[in-house]
Symmetry: C2
Subunit: 319 residues, 2 copies
């Protein structure tokens, strides 16, 4: 029985040149290239929690795929196929047109086929599964860091979180600052090309979705190591840097999520190769500290003293 | 920052022996066997639409995986990996314990690893992606039916829809009828073993989730063929058969979804092979009609006359 939701599903029924069989059967069929492993990840975005219910649908379409592409970037995997399950309060054609435009614009940029999913009525929920290919054994995992590794961060951090605080009225940004920070919040750019360029160069990687301290903490936990990073070396976004040492700006820098930059580690001898990877991907890279055999995550202030995590409220990051 | 939802996610963090890398990194890593294609499908279940908000969590855990396994069964694919994204209004440990018990009991039965997903706060939403393996070119697709094929249905149909009407108070079932019908509705049994046994035997297959006429209609549409089925040959569940020709029972039989039986076609010369596949899987099979070159879906009544789809309200199935 063709319902309005079947019709919506057809909105997303597009050719899938990378697939053996795309949308329209009980399952899609895909054929990974010989010698490749598949990297698979899923993210769920919920209205009111991950975005405002009245968020621009085109940017939402972009973001819902971007956060998944970012996960594959952090594995050095080439994104290939996606599945999209959507719960919608109503079949709003204008919303769907915008959402699919944003989704497919990003998908097309990276050659990702939408091969399946589901559409149903319900409170707005966007659930995406992404599949990518990576040469067997070549993925950048969280558990690959080694003592003595340099720690690197791509691009700039803190902008998305600062933009969110601006929206909540916790601080005020200038017009141009707000534009820059909200662009990062609503339309993050997944570092797919950089992730691929880091294969064979980096030891471990993660995308910064929960904040630098938390995400670097995941690498340390999985690699059973510690780290020291230098506050002055962190690539703070301009609007964040302009407000330091305001504790709110500090929080955005150290614990602000949603920037979707990459944090990765590489041997000290690989600095030139790392910088070359950044250059080939067109993304600036900052060397922010070093992995240590001693456990714990320490942040050194510009005066050489260690940042007191308890005083700054970041003590739950110091394991 | 470890939230209650991180803790919940760990509830689902179990070993994944089929995966190169399971839960806990930016993405899981899986390695399909050489020569295999991957069958990939996703389903989203929403409270209030696909189940009652107070549904038993253990049966819900079972069902949310079962409907996905059923999609792979209809492709003759071996289920291997699943991703589960959950939006929950609150971190209710009892609910999670029940849900994960039901989910993993079924997953373990078929050797399926949970390799990823997401957990977040939001209106109850269960989004599952399933991945399975099928020998290249060996999948049972909807577009594979041939004129002259027999049409088969596994098990019994109509029970789940009858159980739902009972819950809505539209008709009354006896205690034992209700138990049988509600078991089908709440805890469907995916025909995974049967689907695998039909590989190389059947031409086309689909799982009956929208109702026999609709789902057979999908095969006809994709195969660009028609069909005639015989009402008397349909394997009506006992409680449905006892109420025929009540139009409500008829609707359950012809258009009732949620039974998750398989409907498939096979060459007439393959009847013995089909029955052997059913026997090996322990599932009774019924031959219900025949694929025709002439388009349209016709239902023949026991008196030899054609069921008038307009009178019965099924005219939207007669394409």
């Amino acid at each position: 029985m063709a319902s309005e939701f079947d019709l919506i599903a057809r909105y997303f029924d597009r050719p899938a040149p990378n697939a053996v069989l795309g949308v329209g059967d009980d399952a899609a069929l895909i054929r990974p290239a010989p010698g490749m492993e598949l990297a698979v990840s899923a993210d769920m975005l919920v209205a009111g929690r991950h975005f405002f219910p009245d968020a621009d649908p085109e940017r939402l379409g972009h973001k819902s795929l971007a956060v998944n592409l970012s996960d594959l970037a952090a594995m050095a995997a080439t994104p290939r196929w996606a599945l999209l399950s959507l719960a919608l309060p109503e079949a709003d054609e204008a919303w769907l047109a915008g959402f699919s435009r944003g989704f497919f614009a990003l998908a097309d940029r990276y050659g990702v086929d939408l091969v399946g999913g589901d559409t149903t009525r319900g409170p707005l929920n966007i659930s995406v599964t992404i599949l990518g290919e990576v040469p067997a054994g070549g993925a950048l995992r969280r558990d690959g860091a080694k003592a003595g590794d340099d720690i690197w961060v791509s691009g700039e951090i803190g902008a998305a979180a600062l933009g969110l605080r601006h929206l909540f009225g916790e601080l005020e940004l200038t017009g141009s600052e707000a534009a820059a920070c909200l662009a990062r919040l609503h339309a993050p750019e997944p570092r797919v090309t950089l992730g691929l360029a880091l294969a064979g160069v980096a030891h471990a990687a993660i995308d910064i979705s929960d904040g630098l301290l938390a995400d670097l903490g995941h690498i340390l936990e999985r690699s059973q190591l510690g780290a020291e990073i230098e506050l002055a070396r962190l690539p703070a976004a301009a609007a964040v840097a302009a407000r330091l040492p305001d504790p709110r700006a500090m929080a955005c820098l150290l614990a602000g999520g949603d920037d979707y930059e990459l944090c990765f580690t590489a041997a000290q001898g690989q600095q030139e190769a790392v910088l070359a990877a950044g250059q080939s991907a067109g993304v600036p890279l900052s060397r922010i500290g070093r992995i240590s055999a001693a456990p714990g995550l320490r942040v050194r202030r510009p005066d050489g003293e260690q940042l007191d995590m308890k005083v700054t409220g970041f003590d739950h990051f110091a394991n």
